[in-house]
Symmetry: C2
Subunit: 115 residues, 2 copies
DNA sequence: TTGACACATACCTATATGGGTATACCATTG
DNA sequence: CAATGGTATACCCATATAGGTATGTGTCAA
């Protein structure tokens, strides 16, 4: 089997840096495709393809205005990612990091890590 | 170009459901590979490969104990994802959703969406 | 109607995958 | 030392990209 489709869920859609960039640009408000093309310095077809992926996972919405298509973020599609991460947030607090380092050092000194 | 390597960053590493599952299992504490293999009902080589990806992006750490390798989560690797999402969190609040829906309906009724 | 815009889609290519199977590696035990 | 247990790695395959180029489609202007 190959990797899962980029359109299978928000996790996959957002794994691509260009798509995150698009969302970041759209976070400022609705924008037509060419705007994104210029800012991203990417070929127009590529931008359209990335937008399609984002559309399929529900991360953006379109609206036709004349010959332009205005895209905007629909952040609700990203919530599942945030929800999943929520369970880990407490694990990267400074205090925990410090404790972690200490335990690590101790353990490594005890039995010599391999990685 | 093909898709970016799964080991290129946490976003890509975590895009795979099985790898999220592994992290979830490890969230309960350190565990040897075979434990994961049993719980996931996946071939051992596959689990090892997923663990390798997670290791390369720093999402897990290993420690040798006898002939076992105990893995555990290092959530700090996931922080960049949370940081990126932080900018969107306010966008999925209930009130915003409601407003969003209303605007959507109005616009669609005005100029007929295509998607 | 013709032409120019603004986008989307169709193909093609190289690449990196996830899964499967066989096997190599290291430590412990007899 | 040989045998076994616990993992990692080497290959093989099918698949889905991301990017590039060419072209189709819908809309507005002259």
């Amino acid at each position: 089997m190959a990797r899962a489709a980029t359109t299978s869920d928000a996790f996959n859609a957002v794994a691509e840096p260009r798509r995150r960039q698009i969302l970041d640009l759209l976070a400022g408000g609705e924008r037509p495709v060419n705007d994104l093309v210029e800012e991203m310095r990417l070929d127009q077809p590529l931008v359209s393809k990335h937008l399609r992926v984002l559309r399929e996972v529900g991360a953006v919405r379109v609206r036709d205005v004349g010959r332009q298509r205005l895209y905007r973020v629909d952040a609700r599609a990203l919530k599942p990612i945030a929800d999943w991460l929520a369970g880990y947030e407490q694990l990267w607090t400074e205090r925990f990091e410090a404790l972690d380092e200490v335990l690590d050092d101790l353990k490594e000194r005890q039995d010599g890590d391999r990685d």
